[in-house]
């Protein structure tokens, strides 16, 4: 199937105040691929994701999702396929209860209440937060909110997952659950993160952004072992690849 | 100042509810026309902003005292008058429900006093006409300061009138005004200064936040006049209907009008006690706060205590009964809990 692929061609995005956040970005993500986008703060990761779902439109260049170019006319078509989680979960959870938040998407696509109920229950179960079902989101902890925001996009059965720093604020157990969840999700996924250990677990391929440009694009193992490159990009080799200082001394 | 339920009579509360509801449904119609469903989250979040921002205390230089932001003007500037008014209504409703600040019956008055004057009078007539000549930092400052002060003066004037017509306080109208207006001038100045500081800051940091609304409104000047005309007409209509109804039994409204015009009809109180009228008086929702002379007190507002001894006993007994009902229910519930 070709329709879960993502193609960017020479994408440039400049914020209204003149800040050039994306500078000539081109890459292609194939169906079923799992890609990490890493880079220092302000590198342009969030901006990149926003252009993929048409919240920001590139000043020039072309983005295609599946076989459909991202334009104002195709937005609803494209957004139906994509599940997008925000860097800040509070921005995504605006309903009175977790259930309503997870049901928000399915309801907008006019499913019957019984179908909505099924989708919500399934999504809550996958993320492991069935017990939060009736809680109001503003009373949850940061990590719980994060989990709910993930359930809220899974309930829409997306073909492509875009996640902005999904493992931030998660405790080790929830993080592990997220990693397993991502491994189970067989469709295309694009994840921005500073959690390089998670990248190692989840993504085969890694794209390094810096100052709005692609600095490297290749297999995760290669890139995360390239200490010089990581250092230039303001990153650090993931702990699991660092040779243990205690063992080294021996 | 928020009106409280206890300070308002059902008639005044009802009139103000009707008026505010009228303004709100007109506003909803208006924003539906050019929505922009993008505005819904903006309204919601800005409402929360105002709610929260009202809790920050700002020190007033040289006085040691502090004040906080008002909200109505700021919302009108950020969202336009219609959305601003609706947002203010939400904020006040939440305050009434969760903090008992104001009250459910007085909510209509509070929306009117704090939302209507700011969004539909002070904002278009003052802020906007100052800004019209072209936006500068100085004009924004002066505009939001003046609009806040005048909005609050109107609001407090309206509080005085509402309390007065509800017949709650014994204070004569003039002394009440002399008490309230200067206090609210001071409060208004502080609110105005804070609002002005915030708006000018936003203008210099992110002018586009203020721009779209300001440019949009310019073309729609006419609708304000229409809205105000409609509201005035309906207020007069409702008011006259109610006072016609009210005039058949002596009430605060009439008393106030009599006091002002100076021709009290004392004789009407004598033939009040026909059975039918006393029944009407019983079911009327118009409290008779009006009566000051002894004669009238006896004929109209009986101190409902009867002979004081039986009154006291009856009152205590009622309270006792009320509390025992509570205790019995509780006992019953505890028993059931244990059995389960």
């Amino acid at each position: 199937m070709s329709h879960h692929k993502i193609i960017l061609e020479e994408v440039i995005y400049t914020y209204p105040d003149g800040k050039e956040a994306l500078n000539n970005i081109s890459f292609e993500v194939h169906h079923g691929e799992s890609v990490a986008i890493i880079g220092s703060n302000g590198a342009g990761k969030s901006t990149l994701l926003l252009t993929l779902v048409g919240i920001l439109f590139p000043s020039s260049g072309k983005i295609t999702i599946g076989d459909v170019p991202v334009t104002k006319q195709t937005l609803s078509l494209i957004r139906q396929k994509i599940g997008f989680t925000f860097q800040n979960a509070d921005d995504q959870l605006f309903n009175g209860s977790v259930y309503d938040d997870v049901a928000f998407g399915p309801r907008n696509y006019k499913l019957s209440e019984s179908d909505v109920e099924k989708k919500v229950s399934k999504a809550l179960e996958i993320v492991g937060i069935t017990h939060l079902r009736d809680r109001p989101p503003y009373k949850l902890s940061g990590g719980e909110k994060r989990s709910v925001s993930i359930a809220a996009v899974l309930s829409m059965d997306p073909d492509i997952l875009l996640m902005d720093e999904p493992s931030a604020a998660l405790d080790p157990k929830s993080r592990r659950r997220l990693i397993n969840l991502l491994l189970d999700f067989k469709h295309t996924k694009l994840i921005t993160t500073h959690d390089l250990d998670m990248v190692l677990d989840v993504c085969d391929r890694t794209i390094v952004l810096g100052n709005g440009k692609i600095l490297a694009d290749g297999s995760t193992v290669d890139i995360l072992n390239d200490e010089k490159l990581l250092d230039e990009c303001g990153l650090e080799k993931p702990l699991s690849l660092q040779s243990c200082p205690i063992c080294n001394k021996r | 100042m928020h009106m409280a339920d206890a300070l308002i009579s059902p008639v005044v509360g009802g009139i103000m509810w009707a008026t505010s509801a009228g303004a709100a449904s007109y506003s909803i119609k208006k924003i539906k026309l050019d929505l922009d469903e993008k505005k819904i989250p903006l309204m919601g979040v800005m409402g929360a902003f105002v709610f929260a921002a009202q809790m920050i205390n700002f020190t007033i230089p040289g006085t040691g005292s502090s004040g906080h932001i008002g909200g109505g003007i700021l919302l009108a500037i950020l969202l336009g008058p219609y959305a601003g008014f609706l947002t203010m209504a939400s904020v006040l409703a939440i305050q009434a429900l969760f903090f008992a600040d104001g009250g459910l019956l007085a909510l209509g008055s509070n929306i009117f006093n704090l939302g209507f004057y700011t969004c539909f009078i002070a904002y278009p007539l003052i802020y906007k006409s100052i800004i019209k000549k072209g936006i500068t930092k100085k004009r924004i400052f002066v505009g939001s300061l003046l609009a806040s002060v005048i909005g609050l003066q109107l609001g407090s004037f309206s509080v005085v009138l509402q309390t007065f017509f509800s017949g709650i306080t014994e204070l004569p109208l003039l002394s009440f005004l002399l008490l309230m207006q200067p206090i609210h001038l001071a409060i208004g100045l502080i609110e105005g200064l804070i609002t002005a500081a915030v708006v000018t800051f936003v203008w210099s940091a992110r002018p586009e936040i203020l721009e779209p609304i300001n440019s949009k409104i310019r073309s729609k000047n006419m609708s304000y006049k229409k809205l105000i005309a409609v509201l005035l007409c309906s207020a007069v209509l409702i008011g006259s209907m109610l006072s016609w109804y009210a005039s058949s039994n002596p009430d605060g409204l009439e008393w106030a009008i009599e006091n002002i015009t100076g021709n009290a009809e004392l004789e009407s109180s004598e033939n009040l006690h026909t059975t039918l009228e006393s029944f009407q008086e019983k079911i009327s929702f118009l409290p008779d706060y009006s009566l000051k002379t002894k004669v009238e007190v006896e004929s109209n507002t009986p101190v409902d205590v009867g002979t004081s001894v039986s009154g006291l006993i009856g009152g205590l007994l009622t309270l006792f009964l009320a509390i025992s009902i509570g205790l019995v229910i509780k006992l019953f519930k505890n028993k059931r809990l244990k059995e389960n």
Binding site: D91 | A4, I28, G306
Partner: protein
């Protein structure tokens, strides 16, 4: 800024109460809203000297407290918050209205004191009523009640969103205030120079947040329509409504305490 964290706590407390599952909680929200408003209207409709007639009205909050499984003192404590305004305005009554209305064991009690007392009682009763409404109903159900009163969706949605983001904004304010006061100790409020930047920046952040929330909505298929729950009326709702209205009308029509007192003292 103690009052900010207090209000977060306040809101959450009432919110938690509204999650209970008592008889009162299970009633249709519209019924509860109507009864509350009717109760308030009846309460304030009594004349300023009619203190005795107010006493039967205490039954209503007592029933709500017990049947609704609501703790008495925390709610009572909250109702004190509103009292100052009423106390302040009402104090003119005893000062200005010195007409003796009652003699009680040779004491003359003036009309002013009686009307002051009735004002305070009304204040308590109406405030309790509002607080009990929210703590047995909850914001989502209030929204349902508003919808069944045919209040437009735009307004109700907006009302819910405001409520939803109040906690977020209050938390932001707390952190701003903490950050400010850590670097500016010994200040009671925020000094003039920081007024604009401090609130202005929060406002801009809030504005951007609204944008992101909106994005979050459209990304999940939002097109201007919000889903809203409905709750069906039951026979119990209807009975509750009728009983309450009849009770309130009775208290308005008959001076129950006086009748009781007269029977007891044999007048």
């Amino acid at each position: 800024m103690a009052n900010v964290s207090d209000s977060i706590y306040e809101i959450r407390y009432l919110d938690e109460l509204s999650q209970k599952n008592s008889f009162i909680h299970k009633l249709h929200p519209l019924v509860k809203l109507i009864v509350s408003i009717f109760y308030i209207i009846i309460t304030v409709s009594f004349g300023k000297y009619e203190i005795l007639s107010l006493t039967p009205l205490t039954i209503y909050p007592i029933i709500l407290f017990t049947l609704g499984d609501i703790k008495f003192f925390p709610i009572l404590k909250r109702s004190f918050l509103v009292l100052p305004v009423v106390l302040g305005l009402g104090i003119f009554n005893p000062i200005l209205d010195r007409e003796p209305l009652l003699t009680f064991m040779n004491f003359a009690i003036t009309g002013g004191w009686i009307s002051y007392l009735s004002l305070i009682m009304k204040c308590f009763l109406t405030v309790l009523c509002a607080l009990l409404l929210i703590s047995t109903t909850g914001i989502n159900n209030i929204a349902i009640a508003l919808r069944s009163l045919l209040i437009p969706k735009i307004f109700v949605t907006q009302f819910l969103l405001t409520y939803r983001y109040i906690s977020v904004l209050l938390e932001e304010i707390i952190s701003i205030w903490t950050a400010y006061s850590l670097r500016a100790p010994e200040q009671k409020g925020i000094s003039y120079k920081s007024w604009g930047p401090l609130l202005g920046q929060l406002l801009i952040r809030t504005y951007d947040r609204a944008q992101r929330i909106y994005n979050g909505m459209v990304l999940r298929g939002f097109s201007g329509e919000f889903y809203q729950d409905k709750i069906r009326f039951s026979l119990i709702d209807f009975c509750y409504l009728v009983i309450m209205i009849v009770f309130l009308l009775l208290t308005k029509l008959y001076n129950i305490p006086l009748i009781l007192g007269n029977i007891l003292t044999g007048v």
